[in-house]
Amino acid sequence: MATTGNKNINAKLVLLGDVGAGKSSLVLRFVKGQFIEFQESTIGAAFFSQTLAVNDATVKFEIWDTAGQERYHSLAPMYYRGAAAAIIVYDITNQASFERAKKWVQELQAQGNPNMVMALAGNKADLPDARKVAAEEAQAYAQENGLFFMETSAKTAANVNDVFYEIAKRLPRVQPAQNPSGMVLMDRPAERVASASCCS
């Protein structure tokens, strides 16, 4: 869940989508500014964090990049539970991956956090000749379902930062009172002692 404090927002973000849609590549592009043609396949999920400054706040994303193979989907609830945002990724050159994306949207709508900011990303936009999913179709679907939509290319970096930036802007700014264990106190020794003893 996104937490605020001095306009510092901590947000858990999860990437979901079909195998090979480019989830890990999008994350790598966003976090490290790199692109690797053959990205190691993700097992379970990989974790990254990245901070982004928007006009009125600093957003620290805690990103869960999940595995795409169908049988790994049974693990997904662990990653989207409590997430403030989700990017559902499909490959514009692969119709089946778009259908899979719709299923993820449904699952999140039924199971996820109702205030979750959801983005639909049509990745591999650098391959227009191989396109199988029309941008209009995806746009219409996104609109119907309350998502925002962008076509991205992890390879050329097109729209990649924009997706995360747009999410950062849309995250709720005012949150109901959270656990008082905010990040502000993180490095104070007194706080450490308190939390260490409360759990022993």
Binding site: E40, S41, Q69, S74, G82, S181, M186, S200
Partner: protein, 392 residues
């Protein structure tokens, strides 16, 4: 089919001839990150201390080799290839005092590491792979490979997709020969067990087996014995139910040690441990450390995975108790595992500090967790199906 072998052997030989790495004084002073190749040809990034540790590990591997040779000289060649007593061998055999003494020696010895040159032989015998292979005709693997050649299934498509994504950049695995060998092993297995077919994660396991075993065929049999006998059932099948069970068992074990703090942070151990259990640490630990874990895994069974997973957490217990964020916990655990270049450091904690766990206790725990996992998976399945119905 095995034309690729000579080239790989060459690659490995070449590895062993790499002179001891000596970082320059400048690198030491600046605490630079350096890139180097480890014993099995993987490129690792680390600081100067890591390089030094790795050099010490090379030396220890050599010493351990001498210990094995000395025992071979006194006990006779292949003395270690007798089956382990704990595996329920016939009572007569286990009552033999010398056999028992050998078994005790062997257990200790294996925890200290099997020398890389002996690994193929020792693994193949002690894991039960040799026995498994001996129950089918000699030509089984070749026949299987030929029979499935050119067949396309969802499994083969996924395998083809993953070949270049398995340890990319490795000097042998990431070559056409490496890809072809890995493909034959994985595709072959996907036809041998259609319930498993192909599960992502097995690509890393099979790749490492190929690097260690002398032949592709032996790597195939190691994969088979691993999935069919060593690990718990259904780890890799359609909904990974076995993996879910292992994660719950692990969660309980860790809770007894330290998880109350982690749970308070809303940290679920399976966030990091899923990859450990499915890839058997091959993606998380440096290669020689992973193979040392596998040495023990093939002799003592799947409980070893719990020992090692607990050890990684225990090694950083103090630091972890000071964290306030899930992200910090994950970063600490991942950084720790990636830098465990000294296998003994990890295995000492895993076997001397965790306390003993028997295969039996673990099995009981699994039985306890199974109904909850099944119920949860079933519930999710139904919920998702009901969404689909509503949609129409």
């Amino acid at each position: 089919m095995y034309g690729t072998q000579s080239k790989r052997d060459l690659a490995l030989e070449f590895q062993s001839q790499i002179p001891i790495l000596r970082p320059s004084i400048h690198a030491r002073r600046a605490n630079l990150t350096v890139k180097f190749q480890d014993l099995y040809g993987f490129t690792v990034e680390g600081n100067v201390d890591d390089v030094n540790v790795l050099n010490e590990v090379r030396e220890k591997v050599r010493q351990q080799g001498r210990v094995w040779w000395a025992l071979e000289a006194s006990k006779g060649a292949n003395w270690y290839l007798q089956p382990s007593i704990s595996e329920g061998q016939s009572l007569k055999a286990s009552l033999k005092l010398s056999a028992m003494a050998n078994a005790i020696t062997l257990k200790r010895l294996i925890r200290k590491g099997i020398p890389p040159v002996l690994r193929p032989k020792v693994w193949f015998s002690l894991s039960g792979a040799a026995k498994k292979k001996s129950t089918v005709p000699e030509s089984y693997y070749n026949d299987l490979s030929k029979a499935v050649e050119g067949k396309v299934t969802p499994a083969t498509r996924q395998i083809d997709h993953d070949l270049p994504r398995t340890f990319p950049g490795h000097p042998w695995l990431d070559t056409p020969e490496g890809h072809a060998a890995l493909r034959r092993v994985l595709v072959g297995y996907s036809f041998r067990d259609s319930d498993v077919g192909y599960c992502q994660g097995l690509n890393y396991v099979a790749a490492l087996l190929l690097l260690v075993m002398k032949t592709e065929e032996d790597a195939f049999w190691m994969l088979a014995v691993l999935l069919e006998n060593v690990l718990v059932n259904d780890c890799y099948t359609t909904n990974l139910s076995g993996c879910h069970v292992e994660q719950r068992v692990f969660k309980d074990l860790l809770a007894k040690k330290m998880a109350s703090h982690l749970e308070a942070l809303d940290f679920d151990v399976s966030l990091v441990a899923t990859e450990w259990f499915l890839c058997l640490f091959s993606k998380s630990l440096p290669s020689e450390t992973t193979l040392r874990v596998w040495d023990v895994l093939f002799y003592e069974g799947a409980k070893v995975l719990f020992h090692v997973a607990l050890a990684i957490f225990m090694m950083k217990e103090e630091q972890l108790l000071l964290t306030h964020h899930v992200g910090d916990v994950i970063n600490i655990v991942q950084r720790t595992s990636h830098h465990l270049f000294d296998p003994d450091e990890l295995l000492t904690v895993a076997f001397d500090k965790i306390g003993s766990m028997t295969t039996n206790t673990i099995s009981k725990q699994r039985k306890k967790q199974e109904p909850a996992v099944m119920a949860e998976l079933d519930q999710r399945f139904r919920r998702l199906n009901s969404i689909k119905v509503d949609d129409k």
